[in-house]
Symmetry: C2
Subunit: 387 residues, 2 copies
């Protein structure tokens, strides 16, 4: 290799953002957002606000409230908050991203301007992708409004839209400018959406933190009643563990083949797609986790009582652990290929050796997947395999 | 600010790539590319090759040559090299990016697969953007084939396409996996394209390295004859200075408001657009530099003899220093706003205090711009202002 004449370009890019917890973020006497916006000095910057349609339905004055709040800041709100429909369907199109580009261009936003996204995970993803690629990156502030996005995706460093029926096919790694978790937004959620976030809490407990898993077990009744303190505790701990993982695992932009936070997700992503997104992300992840828990047990890694304890918690939290799409095993297993294709390198799947003890394997046995699906179909541990 | 409860997410992402210099990169006995592809271990990975139509016209066997070369590697070339028309027009559409997404998806490329782009700056930009956003980043190897892209854009960390008539409106910062500068590609270039790269050499000499500027002066005849040694020297030194800037200036992803390597570019980008891209990038940059050199002199920063020396070099290198689009000063000055919008923060323009001594200003006087344009229109230093 004629490398004696090569030039090496080597550098590190520092990233830093904070995740704040508050209530009533747009109340005029709540200074948090104004101070986040002032962090970078006193220059007046522009801001485009984008919010989820369903939020506006639950709170018709939200747009006016945002406008009134920002009128008391050193920020130029460039237009009335833009309204986009939330939900996964938003990610299946390119038009919302193009509409955001048009707004960013038309209102002369710069790299130092702000885009404030108020909504669930899908809306945050779409806005995040547009913000990350317009001018090669406009500052993006996320206000996740669902349990799931406050606990998980909203505090991460990724964004994406779907393409070719593949989830998150197009996207970037682009840390937000800041994340603000406002507990008030959770109150207007339907029960199923409130509960959807619990699955990421269970997941992160399973792979990383047995004490947190136990804590969730002890809080089940409170969580099922959506008691604010329990909800907040779960979100806070999830966000903590998520941020720890990003900052400390040494691979925030996922150049390797492992993605431990995606425990249970290979099947989940595929089930979302096979069900034409009838299964929501949280619902699909619950099934995917159940599948990989039984798989871990059947493969001899996880003790029977631990597996039973995990499945019991999932059921007590109200998650259905079976979907008919699982019976199409050939198509489900394509999810493994797609999972590998997305990350590259060797297939790397997280399984469990115990509660709080995730580890990685590089192959998956079809026979054991079939057995796990059959057990979930029957809705109870199979007598022949329970240990 | 209720920041006592905030979580801080802070981390650094390391980047590293090499810029290689070679000749005959696809000759079967040249191991360089094969070794670059083997760098990451022995796993067979997939590779999609994309090349510039005009290269194929100059070298009809190039596709077969790439195929033959890679057949002797541990790489699966997923299909015949894809051919795209080069030139700025490619960046004005979204279809080429979508076509690349289709190929990446259809051929099951992963984050660890490779996309090899062989072409000029526009093609590298389009392929780089698709590669950076599919799966949130497929490995991208650049083989710049023009003097301009080998010296400048090809060795950088940016990619982009145009939108809304604005150059590079949509893009990302995404360092390549590797860059290979093959001097053989330059031989088939038309003379105007060979010379186009010289302007970035003059630019970087002007803002950073007076010795390099003098060296270019001494090589003018050799450069005008396109002598390989002179061409190589200029490309090598430019690539060196460009990489030094990225790795050492502390802001590789341009979060601040300054972009010193864009000396002369505020007018250049606008002139490209105002001329509907009749003016090519190198031609427009030559005019933009001439404008900012005269401006620097008129504003009292740059001595008359230095300005004269610079303009003389530009003319000796064959650059035309005037375009009729400059006379539409209102629209030209919109380029300043667009330049600021793209970067954000305060307007920051690089001017010269001397040869090799760039510095920054934050405002631009319309009267002095007008005077500079008038001088360029007359094609010679105005008697009243020459010092």
């Amino acid at each position: 290799m004629k490398s004696e004449s090569a030039i090496t370009c080597q550098f590190e890019v520092p990233f830093r953002f904070r995740v704040f917890f508050t209530a009533g973020v747009f109340d005029c006497d709540n200074d948090l957002l104004r101070e986040v916006l002032r962090e970078d000095g006193s220059r007046r910057e522009r801001l485009l606000a984008v919010m989820d349609e369903s939020l506006l339905a639950a709170n018709p004055k939200l747009g006016d409230k945002i406008t009134a709040y920002l009128s008391q800041s050193n920020i130029d709100l460039v237009c009335q908050p833009l309204v986009l429909p939330g939900g996964e369907a938003l990610k299946n199109q390119t038009e919302p991203v193009n509409e955001l580009y048009r707004q960013i261009e038309g209102h002369k936003l710069s790299r130092h301007s702000y885009i404030l996204a108020v909504g669930g995970g899908a809306l945050l993803d779409v806005v995040g992708f547009a913000a990350a690629t317009a001018h090669r990156g406009v500052r993006h502030i996320r206000l996740p409004t669902t349990t799931l996005s406050q606990a998980d995706g909203g505090v991460g460093v990724k964004n994406a839209i779907n393409a070719f029926g593949k989830k998150n096919f197009i996207g970037t790694f682009a840390p937000p400018f800041a994340v603000i978790n406002d507990s008030d937004f959770l109150e207007s959620l339907p029960a199923s959406e409130k509960a959807a976030g619990y699955i990421e809490a269970v997941k992160v407990g399973l792979i990383r933190d047995a004490d947190f898993f136990s804590e969730i077990e002890n809080m089940v009744e409170a969580l099922n009643r959506f008691e604010p303190a329990a909800l907040q505790r779960v979100i806070r701990r999830c966000a903590d563990l998520h941020v720890q993982h990003i900052a400390q695992n040494g691979d925030p932009f996922e150049r390797g083949s492992a993605r431990p936070l995606d425990f249970g997700h290979w099947a989940a992503h595929k089930l979302e797609q096979l069900s034409s997104f009838r299964l929501r992300h949280g619902e699909a992840v619950a099934i995917g986790i159940a599948l990989d828990v039984i798989y871990s047990r059947e493969a001899g890694y996880l003790a029977g009582p631990d597996a039973a304890r995990i499945l019991a918690l999932l059921r007590r939290l109200g998650f259905a652990l079976f979907a008919p799409e699982m019976l199409d095993i050939d198509r489900l297993l394509v999810g493994l290929d797609e999972f590998r294709e997305h990350l590259g390198g060797d297939l790397t799947i997280t399984l469990l050796r115990g509660i709080g003890r995730g580890f990685e394997v590089h192959e998956v046995s079809r026979a054991l997947v079939e057995r796990a699906i059959e057990e979930l179909r029957q809705g109870q541990p199979a007598l022949t395999t329970a240990k």
